[in-house]
C-alpha cells in the first residue's frame, strides 16, 4: 500500500527535545563560570553524582511508561543502603572485596523485594500506585530509622577505602558511575524497545483494556515494572554507599521527586504509553546541571529555589513545545 514514512526524522526530533534543553542550559553554564565547561566539573563531578538519580529514573521510566508511579524510591534507597551497610559492618575488620560483592548482590535483591511489595499491593490490592507507594515510602523510611536506631549507619574507614573506587574510580578515563549509567541505560533501552516485555509495558500504559483483551498479563507486566524499579534503586545504592560509606535518615529524601521530574523532562508522559530512556538520562543530568550552575553562580541563597523552579518550568516548556512541533 501507500507506505511513505518519514518516521525517522520525526522521531528523532521528539527524542532530541530534552537534549536541546540540556544543551541550552550547558551553554548558559559556560557563561556563569569559566570552570563550568571542564571535564572535572561536568563529568567528574556533575555527571558522576547524577548517577544515582539517573539510574533510579531509568527504573521509573518503566513504571511510568506502564501508567504507574512510584513515590517510594527514596525510601527504598535509604532502606537498601541501611541493609547493605549493616551487612558490611557485620563482617568486622577483615571484611574485604568478597564481602562487598555479596553486599552488592544483597542490595539489588532487597531493592527488587521492595519493588515486588509495591507491585503486589498495587496489582492484587487494586489500589492507586500513588497511595501504595506513599504508604511504602513512609513504611520503609521508618524501617530504616529503626535499623539505624534513629541515627546513621557507617562502615569502617578501611572498608570504605576498599569500596570507594566504585564511586570515585575511572575506567579509560570515564568515572565508573557514569559507565554504570550508560550500561543500565543500554540494557533498559534494549528491554523497553526491543523485547516483548517492553512492548507490553507500553501497551499497558497506553490502554490497559486493549492490553488485557490482547492476552497480555497486565498485572504481571506492572509487577515487573516495579521490580525493575527496585533493582535500579539497588544498583544506584551500590554506587551511593562507597561515596560516603554511610547513610542516615536524610538519605534518599526527595529522590522520588527528582526521578519523576527527570523522567518527565526526558519526554515520558505521566499518563503512560511512552518511555524514553535516553531522555530520562538527559533529564536527570539536566536537573543536576541546574544545581551545579546555581552553586557556581552568585544568586542570593534564599532565592536559589526560585531560580531552580523557574528553570525547570522553562526547560519543560522548551521540551514540550519541541515535542509538539515534531
Amino acid at each position: 500500500m501507500t507506505v511513505m514514512t518519514k518516521t525517522r526524522a520525526r522521531f528523532n526530533l521528539k527524542a532530541a527535545a530534552p537534549f536541546v534543553a540540556l544543551f541550552v542550559l550547558i551553554a548558559l553554564g559556560a557563561f556563569v563560570h569559566p570552570k563550568f565547561l571542564t571535564f572535572d566539573n561536568l563529568v567528574q563531578n556533575v555527571a558522576t553524582r547524577t548517577s544515582f538519580i539517573a539510574i533510579i529514573a531509568i527504573g521509573a521510566t518503566f513504571v511510568m511508561a506502564s501508567g504507574g508511579l512510584d513515590l517510594s524510591v527514596g525510601s527504598i534507597a535509604a532502606f537498601v543502603a541501611g541493609v547493605m551497610l549493616i551487612y558490611l559492618k557485620s563482617g568486622g575488620p577483615e571484611a574485604g572485596v568478597g564481602m562487598i560483592a555479596l553486599a552488592i548482590g544483597l542490595a539489588i535483591l532487597v531493592g527488587a523485594a521492595c519493588g515486588l511489595a509495591n507491585g503486589l499491593i498495587t496489582t492484587v490490592g487494586k489500589i492507586e500506585p500513588f497511595i501504595v507507594t506513599l504508604g511504602t515510602m513512609v513504611i520503609l523510611r521508618s524501617l530504616f530509622t529503626y535499623l539505624a536506631n534513629g541515627g546513621s549507619i557507617s562502615i569502617s574507614p578501611d572498608l570504605k577505602d576498599i569500596y570507594a573506587p566504585v564511586y570515585s574510580g575511572t575506567f579509560v578515563g570515564v568515572p565508573i558511575p557514569v559507565l554504570t549509567v550508560l550500561a543500565v541505560a543500554a540494557v533498559a533501552a534494549f528491554l523497553l524497545y526491543r523485547t516483548v516485555f517492553g512492548r507490553h509495558v507500553i501497551a499497558v500504559g497506553s490502554n490497559e483494556d486493549v492490553a488485557r483483551y490482547s492476552g497480555i498479563a497486565v498485572n504481571r507486566v506492572k509487577l515487573w515494572t516495579y521490580i525493575i524499579q527496585g533493582i535500579c534503586v539497588g544498583i544506584a545504592i551500590t554506587l551511593y554507599v562507597p561515596r560516603l560509606g554511610s547513610a542516615n535518615s536524610a538519605t534518599g529524601l526527595f529522590w522520588e521527586l527528582q526521578a519523576i521530574t527527570a523522567v518527565v523532562i526526558g519526554g515520558t508522559l505521566l499518563k503512560g504509553g511512552t518511555g524514553r530512556i535516553a531522555g530520562t538520562v538527559a533529564g536527570a543530568f539536566l536537573l543536576e546541571v541546574i544545581g551545579n550552575i546555581l552553586t557556581l553562580s552568585n544568586v542570593n541563597v534564599y532565592l536559589i529555589g526560585a531560580v531552580q523552579g523557574t528553570i525547570i518550568i522553562i526547560a519543560m516548556l522548551v521540551q514540550r513545545s519541541l515535542m509538539r512541533k515534531s
Binding site: M1, S206, I216
Partner: protein, 508 residues
C-alpha cells in the same frame, strides 16, 4: 423532495480540500445541502466521509475552500459555533464523558439552570422523552460508563436531537444498532426531515440508504465522483459507484462441514449479572451466529468464556476445560475479537505495526528480541490481505478511518492463528467491498477447519454467513435455528419474544 432548484441551501461547501500533514484526504469537494432533504454520503473506508462531516460541523478547518450557511460565508473555529447555528454532528466514534450520567452527557455544555444551580429534574425529564422517541431502554441517571456500545450510540444520537437543528449529520449512526433500534431511528430521521431540517446521512448499510435518502453523493479517495437523486438507485448500483466496479455476490457460498468434530462445548455457563446458564456447542468447520437485541448478553457470554469477566460453569475447548486466565485461553486457541475496537481492540496512540503484532508478539521474536523486519513484513502482508488503506504506514492507529481500524483489528487477532474465533460485530463500520473480503475470509477460515462464531446485529449478515444460529434474549439462549429454517422473522421473533414480529422492511 422539495423544490430544490430555487431554494438557498442551508449549508453548502465549495472547492473544499483537506490535508493531514502532507496527506490530502479531501480534494475539491463542492456540495449543497437543502432543508427537507436527506442527503446520503457513501464511499469506501477512508474515502474522507467523516473528515468532510467534521469540517461541516466545525471540528476541523478545511485547508482550502469555503463554507456557506444560509448563503453567507462562514468559518467555524469550534464545533460549538456550528452547533449554535444548528449544525449538529452525531459522531461515528463515541464521544461521551463516561463518568457522567446519560442526561448530564446529553446536556453537557448547555445545561439548563435554575438560579445558580443546574436543573437536573428538567434535564432528566427531557432526556426521558427523547430516549422514548428512539425507543431506547436507557434511564437518564445511568452512568454512561455502564452502557454498552449500542446504548452509548443512542445517547449520542439523543444529544444531537435535543439541539435546535438546521442541519443534522449522522455519521454511521446505525453501525452498532440492531434492527429494532435502526428502525426506530430511521423513522425519527424521516420525521425530523419533515420538520424542515437538512439531513446528512452516512452509512455502509446500503439498504438503509436506499430507504431514506433523497439524494446520494459518492466519495472515492477524497474526491466527489458522483452526486445524484436517489430515485431508482438500488444498493447494487450504489456499491458499484463506491468501488468503481461491479460488485460480485456479497456472501460467499456456504459449505457445510461434513465431519462435525466438536470445537467447544458449553453447558450451563453463567456470567453473573449478564448471562444465565447458557449451553451451546460449536463444531470445527462451522460458522455459528449469535443473534439478539442490545443487552441480550452475547458479548458478555464470550467475554466470560475468554475469562475477561468473572464467570462460572462448564465449558470445554477441544475436549479440555477452558483455561482460567485470558492469556491461557488465547494460547489454547480461543480468540475473542471485541466489538469495542477503540476501547478494547487497538492502541490508538501507537503505530500500526505495534498494534498488529501486539497479541501475537511472541511469534515475532528471535532470541527474545523483536524481529522488526519480520514485523514490517507482517504489516505489509496485512495491508494486502485485509485491504487496509492507510496513507502512510507510520500513522498511529487512531488516525486510520473507522473501517480501516476494524480491518487492522481483524488482522491483529488473526495473527494468533486461533482454532476457535469469536468475532463480535465483524463488519461494524466496514464498507461493502471490505465486507465482502471479510466474509470471504471468515468462510475460508471455516473451510480450513476452524470454528467461527459470529456475533452480529446485522440480520442479513447472520443469515448470509452462518450455518447455524443461536438467539439470545435477556441473558439466555432462547433458540437454536438451523440452516433450513433460518430467516429474519424467526430470528426476530425469538430475539424479541414477541409472538409475531413487528418488523419493517428496513433490513433487507
Amino acid at each position: 423532495m422539495s423544490g430544490v432548484g430555487a431554494q438557498i441551501p442551508v449549508v453548502s461547501c465549495q472547492n473544499l480540500s483537506h490535508r493531514y500533514g502532507p496527506v490530502e484526504v479531501l480534494s475539491d469537494i463542492s456540495l449543497d445541502f437543502y432543508q427537507g432533504q436527506i442527503h446520503a454520503i457513501i464511499g469506501e473506508n477512508g474515502a474522507g466521509k467523516s473528515t468532510l462531516m467534521k469540517i461541516l460541523a466545525g471540528h476541523l478547518r478545511p485547508t482550502s475552500g469555503i463554507l456557506t450557511f444560509d448563503g453567507q460565508q462562514v468559518t467555524f473555529s469550534s464545533p460549538y459555533q456550528a452547533e449554535e447555528r444548528g449544525i449538529v454532528l452525531v459522531h461515528q466514534e463515541i464521544l461521551l464523558a463516561p463518568h457522567l450520567t446519560v442526561a448530564q452527557n446529553i446536556f453537557l455544555g448547555r445545561e439548563i439552570r435554575r438560579f445558580l444551580a443546574v436543573n437536573d429534574a428538567e434535564m432528566n425529564a427531557k432526556t426521558v422523552r427523547v430516549l422514548k422517541d428512539l425507543e431506547a431502554d436507557i434511564a437518564p441517571d445511568d452512568l454512561v460508563e455502564n452502557l454498552s456500545i449500542a446504548q452509548r450510540q443512542l445517547v449520542q444520537i439523543a444529544r444531537a436531537l435535543l439541539l435546535p437543528q438546521r442541519l443534522v449529520i449522522f455519521d454511521e449512526p446505525t453501525a452498532s444498532l440492531t434492527p429494532m433500534e435502526t428502525d426506530a431511528l430511521l423513522k425519527l430521521i424521516v420525521k425530523i426531515k419533515a420538520s424542515g431540517v437538512a439531513i446528512l446521512y452516512i452509512s455502509h448499510r446500503l439498504p438503509e440508504v436506499k430507504l431514506v435518502a433523497d439524494r446520494v453523493s459518492v466519495l472515492r479517495d477524497g474526491k466527489l465522483v458522483e452526486s445524484r437523486s436517489a430515485a431508482g438507485l438500488e444498493p447494487v448500483d450504489m456499491a458499484r459507484m463506491m468501488v468503481g466496479r461491479d460488485m460480485a455476490q456479497l456472501y460467499p457460498e456456504k459449505i457445510l462441514p461434513l465431519l462435525r468434530k466438536m470445537a467447544m462445548d458449553v453447558d450451563g455457563f453463567t456470567v453473573p449479572g449478564f448471562v444465565d446458564a447458557a449451553s451451546f456447542r460449536v463444531g470445527f468447520g462451522e460458522i455459528v451466529g449469535f443473534a439478539g437485541l442490545i443487552g441480550a448478553g452475547r458479548t458478555e457470554l464470550f467475554e466470560g468464556l475468554a475469562r475477561l469477566r468473572p464467570s462460572r460453569g462448564n465449558a470445554s475447548l477441544k475436549g479440555i476445560a477452558f483455561q482460567s486466565s485470558p492469556k491461557a485461553v488465547m494460547e489454547s486457541g480461543f480468540v475473542y475479537l471485541s466489538e469495542d475496537r477503540k476501547g478494547k481492540g487497538l492502541l490508538l496512540s501507537q503505530p500500526l505495526g505495534t498494534n498488529l503484532t501486539l497479541a501475537a508478539l511472541e511469534k515475532f521474536q528471535v532470541w527474545r528480541v523483536i524481529d522488526r523486519p519480520k514485523e514490517a513484513a507482517a504489516l505489509s502482508q496485512a495491508f494486502d490481505d485485509f485491504d487496509i488503506r492507510a496513507k502512510s504506514s507510520d500513522m498511529v492507529a487512531g488516525q486510520l478511518s473507522g473501517g480501516n481500524q476494524q480491518k487492522l483489528f481483524l488482522a491483529k487477532m488473526m495473527l494468533m492463528t486461533p482454532d476457535v474465533i469469536v468475532i463480535d460485530e465483524p463488519t461494524r463500520g466496514v464498507d461493502i467491498g471490505a465486507k465482502q473480503q471479510i466474509y470471504r475470509f471468515i468462510a475460508k477460515l471455516a473451510e480450513g477447519g476452524k470454528a467461527v462464531v459470529v456475533i452480529s446485529s446485522e440480520m442479513p449478515e447472520i443469515i448470509g454467513l452462518c450455518h447455524r444460529v443461536y438467539v439470545m434474549r435477556s441473558g439466555r439462549i432462547v433458540a437454536e435455528i438451523n440452516q433450513d429454517s433460518m430467516d429474519e422473522e424467526s430470528i426476530v421473533v425469538h430475539a424479541t419474544g414477541a409472538v409475531k414480529a413487528v418488523f419493517s422492511a428496513v433490513c433487507v
